[in-house]
């Protein structure tokens, strides 16, 4: 359903992505793991055309495009099939929660105002914010903001939602509510690609896992398999700290 092949991206001399390929089937929840600086976020941003990749192709459904040369029209077409959840939420500060969700529907997807309101209501209820419709981002906690952002991404019924470290900017006690929301979507069969550092979450919720290091995919496969029987030494090392259940006690 989504396939990505041979993505290259360099910032100056720094080669961040060195030929990344993977594919996602409908209903998959793909976790992209890796230490900081491995290129996970850049990969996701290239797929949404926030960064211009140096090379590579993307195919969503029947729409295919070159990540480097895609026309404005093509980019727009592909973006209408995807949506994105950001590390720092990026809610529209001049809109309240329900308007944040509606805007993408009415402006981005040509849905009528009445219908958009209905969908927005339902989406916000789904992420547990039925009592926060008319609250502005500045009045919501980080966890609530991120859930509005998830509702916004969900409402446009994309073929796939990209999550870029959705819990990394949150206070620890707020991480749970966001992960719970994402798990709920996973159970409903929403296709998602999630860059995350939450290993337990990735193991339990993801169907597929991809481990990246230094701009390449070291290993990818069934999430359960990758966590329990990693084939590559590098994957094993990365997972070891998590698998051995180290706790930091100060």
């Amino acid at each position: 359903m989504l396939s990505v092949s041979n993505v290259h991206k360099a910032f100056g001399d720094n080669e961040v992505l060195k030929g990344v390929s993977f594919s996602v089937e409908k209903g998959d929840v793909v976790a992209i793991l890796g230490s900081s600086g491995s290129g996970k976020t850049t990969l996701l941003r290239c797929l949404e055309f926030f960064e211009k990749a140096d090379q590579g192709t993307i195919k969503i459904g029947e729409t295919q495009a070159d990540l480097h040369t895609a026309s404005r029209q093509k980019i727009h077409e592909l973006r209408q099939k995807t949506s994105f959840v950001f590390q720092n939420y990026n809610l529209f500060n001049n809109k309240n929660a329900i308007e944040n969700v509606e805007l993408g529907l009415t402006k981005g997807h040509g849905v009528s105002k009445v219908r958009a309101k209905e969908i927005a209501r339902r989406s916000l209820e789904e992420v547990g914010l039925a009592d926060r419709f008319d609250y502005y981002p500045s009045e919501l906690s980080g966890g609530q903001q991120q859930r509005v952002a998830i509702a916004r991404a969900l409402a446009v019924e994309p073929e796939v939602i990209f999550f870029d470290e959705p819990t990394s900017a949150l206070d620890p006690e707020l991480v749970g509510e966001v992960l719970e929301t994402i798990s709920k979507l996973a159970k409903k069969g929403v296709t998602m690609v999630i860059v995350t550092h939450e290993m337990a979450f990735a193991r339990d919720v993801a169907t597929k896992a991809i481990y990246m290091d230094k701009g390449v995919i070291v290993e990818q496969g069934e999430a359960k398999e990758l966590f329990t029987h990693p084939k590559e030494e590098r994957t094993r090392q990365f997972l070891s700290r998590f698998l051995e259940g180290y706790d930091y006690v100060i």
């Binding site: 727009h76 402006k107 997807h109 916004r152 991404a153």
Partner: protein, 237 residues
Amino acid sequence: MRTINLSRILEYFLKSLPNLRVTLTYVFFSLILGFALGGLIAKGRMSRNKAISALAQGYVTLVRSTPSIILLFLVFYGLSAVTTGAFNIFLNSLPTVVFVIITFTINIGASSSEIIRSAYNSVSKGQLEAALSVGMTQLQAFNHVLLPQMFRNSIPNIGNTIIFLIKEGALAYVIGLRDVLGQAYFLSALDMNAYALDMCVALTLIYWPITAGLEKLFSVLEKKLEYKHVVVLEQKT
């Protein structure tokens, strides 16, 4: 020693006040045209094309280092000289206020470009990406997400610009504009400037409440546009 006379102040006040309409005319048009020009200049300055960016920067520097009064003379005499010399078009018949509007469009074009640029930078670009990610176009994202916030963030600066225009525009009496100040000067001249002090007091009494009122208006507007939800009280049954 001269003394001021209340009835004479009142007379100057009442006879100059109707010309506020001229003041408001050039303020309105200079503001709109100036900000439109400022938008273009700001876009030019943020352009990736070095030549365009340098050109916009040069414009801002040049205009900002020209005193308004000199710019007024340059536009009033210079523009006519150029059009007459080059195209044999005489601008003499144009109303003076047109020259004033041109002058302050040039002037506000420079200063507002800085206002617009800082307003643009004050809105996080992540919101633009978010808008694009839900299928909006660049233009839709700008109109519905960036622009309202840019406007909200620059309300104090827009207010300052209007107040600046009302006061600075008074200089246009030197090219014969009959705005509030021009009219008062004219009346004063009829009295051989014998009562110049009365005239100045009358003018002060006109300018003060306008400026104070605008200040208040803009601070209220700024509060009104704060992005806060409105608590709707449940109707008692």
